[in-house]
């Protein structure tokens, strides 16, 4: 095999079919990993997870290929043994960023090989000709493109803004690197369930990660409230989108708009909102700030937007109707009613 044959490649791309096969052939079990021979491997495994938590991106170390390769499944084992959604997502995003960076520096053929062999995509080299003044490296089947691109928020990724011809989307290397890394992220976000009994050496690492995780969640206010803004009074649709944002799930444009316009309208500041979105997978602070300010009416035409009505939210598939939604036609009405109910019950107590 021409591509993905070196150990360096396996270490860089431990999610590929070839790397998985290599690991399988080593026939290791968990007991082997805790032998003193592998102590630095253990360290690298937990380092991957901690880098994800603290820096949001996993580094690539090329000093020991085998260790770099084997620490990948180990890190996933550590994440899965905690079973925390926030951690799983944060780790997946951080690994995908690492892959994105590395792939962008590779030869075109290597990306094609990985996309085909590991993900089964229908992808080929694009003819060397310019379209609207641009050159493209690849043609990717539109069906494969639509597996992941709809989850990116930037208008650059909308199909309508791409060159689409005879069922293929024309892409450049950075685009394909991004799509592959997104596919990696989705794979890592699949729950695998808690692993069976772990050796004490690994349990210790899990505990360290857990304490860091708890501290970070507390820091970011992931389980806390907003003070002035009464989160208990949010309609179920908004609560759902908000928890998606905080746990860093990819969000559709409609979901982002709904959440932002709702929170702006009940008095949350632009800074607080930008902070909420900072967990989302493709977060870009400048862009997010710009968009939030636009919705708040600080930029653009000066119009402050209100969230969509309940029926529109239904169309978007964002409605999470509960019994308190009876007769409510707008999420802001739900909030108002709910605040009133709360005040009412306070009075009743006095």
């Amino acid at each position: 095999m021409v591509f993905m044959s070196s150990k360096g490649d396996l270490a860089k791309y431990p999610f590929t079919k070839e790397a998985q096969k290599y690991i399988e052939n080593l026939n290791l079990d968990i007991g082997d990993l805790v032998s003193p021979k592998y102590s630095s491997l253990l360290r690298r495994g937990s380092e991957r997870v901690i880098e994800a938590l603290e820096k949001g991106i996993v580094s690539y170390k090329d000093d020991n290929y085998i260790e770099e390769l084997l620490s990948f499944p180990l890190a996933r084992l550590l994440v899965e043994s905690l079973g925390d959604d926030y951690l799983r997502r944060r780790y997946a995003v951080a690994e995908s960023k690492r892959v994105d960076k590395l792939l962008a520096m590779e030869e075109n053929d290597k990306l094609i090989h990985i996309a085909r062999e590991t993900f089964g995509w229908d992808i080929r080299k694009a003819p060397r000709q310019s379209i609207s003044g641009r050159f493209y490296d690849y043609e990717l089947n539109v069906v494969n493109y639509l597996e992941y691109a709809p989850y990116f928020q930037d208008k650059y990724w909308k199909l309508v803004n791409r060159v689409l011809h005879r069922g293929y989307v024309y892409l450049r290397k950075n685009d394909v690197a991004r799509l592959i890394s997104e596919a990696v992220k989705w794979r890592l976000m699949e729950k695998k369930g808690k692993p069976p009994d772990l050796p004490s050496e690994i349990k210790e690492m899990v505990n360290i990660i857990e304490s860091k995780l708890v501290a970070q969640k507390k820091d970011k206010g992931i389980d806390g409230g907003f003070g002035e803004v009464s989160r208990d009074s949010f309609p179920p649709c908004i609560s759902k989108i908000l928890s998606d944002a905080i746990t860093g799930k990819s969000m559709s444009h409609h979901a982002r708009f709904t959440l932002t316009s709702f929170l702006i309208n009940i008095g949350m500041s632009v800074d607080e909102l930008v902070e909420i979105f900072s967990n989302v997978a493709d977060f870009d602070e400048e862009l997010t700030r710009y968009q939030v300010e636009h919705i708040a009416g600080i930029r653009g035409g000066g119009t402050k937007y209100t969230p969509p009505t309940c029926s529109t939210l239904q169309t978007y598939g964002l409605c999470e109707k509960n019994e308190l939604c009876q007769g409510v036609k707008h999420p802001l009405n739900y909030y108002r009613n709910s605040l009133r109910r709360q005040k009412g019950s306070e009075k009743a107590v006095i």
Partner: protein, 413 residues
Amino acid sequence: MSTADFLTNLFGNYYNDNFDRIISPSNLRKREFGFMFFKYGSIIRHLSFEDENQLKTFLAREAPSDVFYSAAYYFQPAMPKMPMKGWEGCDLIFDIDADHIETSCKNEHDKWKCQVCGKADKGIKPDKCPVCGESKIEELKWLCDTCLDYAKLETIKIVEDFLIPDFGLSKSEIGICFSGHRGYHIHVESEVVKELNSQARREIIDYIKGGGIDPELHGLQEIGRKKVITGPDTNDKGWGGRITRNVIKFISKLQENEIIMEDKYTKKKLLMLIKEKQKIINSLSQHPPLWDAMRNIDINFWFLIVERAINMAKGKIDEPVTADIHRLIRLPTSINGKTGFQVKPLKLNEIASFDPFSDSQIFEGQITVRAGDVPTFRIGEETFGPYKDEKVELPLSAAVFLLCKGVAQILKT
């Protein structure tokens, strides 16, 4: 005999007489079916059939007013709740309906009436009654050549401008039919589109409707300190070429008497465009095109022109139908109970000459009915009406149309 009984008998006879001509959908056993009946108010769904024969026997025996099947494939289609059915995939469906296209004739032939205060008017039904504010409003949607021709052109456009060249679908994967009422349906059946989720289908909708399109990402921009304007070539693939071709089309159609309503600034620029029409069209048709031929057309004005060109080029489809991966759709060759017209399957090369008011008529004979308030309509070569509370003898197809629309009744004997 009641009108409902009469229509039920008639529809039953159709399904009986045409037993061999009724089309059953592919993968029949994986499809959910739904039916409506003249004598029963709501839809009955979550039904499934073992084979073609069972379906056709059901149609002939039960004589439903409307027949629907799921675009989706299920492991167990007859289960009462969606999550229990086991979704396995879904055809890609497009609905092109005159309801979603603005045609001025609707103000002539569509009517509504408030059920609460009795206020009635022509045109599209308002959300709330302007007199009493209630939302219980009954509407009568009529059909006319203008509306249906428009929907037909849109259908051809979506297939020939989008599905074949851009999405690379082959003619054999694309099924087209007249809905039997106000529009057309496109069914795409292919292994690759089956598994697309709702999000992906929404991207396809946006592609066809030009939703969220950014001309800059298709190359329309100012470059360098001299602000040279560049843009896509007519030969470019996808939306790029489509933009330029439609800008040329827009400019070549532009007439002085059409721009009276524009604001002062736009009018001035458009007049210039009309004056220099040929020169601009020639520059844009070159390879590469010259977007900069007119020094006094700035980039912002181009954006405005491009926006209008996109409006001409985009396909007008009903979004929820395409995005919904559990949608029921009319069975081709069944009868549409809103009109008594056949849901007629069409080949791509048949659509242009297809006349819904002749070619989807299935009943023969004459009958006298009591017509209520009926606008003008055409069946075959003949135009009928308007009628106002009168007995009229009509060809059966025309009478069935009025009976289905609820604007005529069978005579009491």
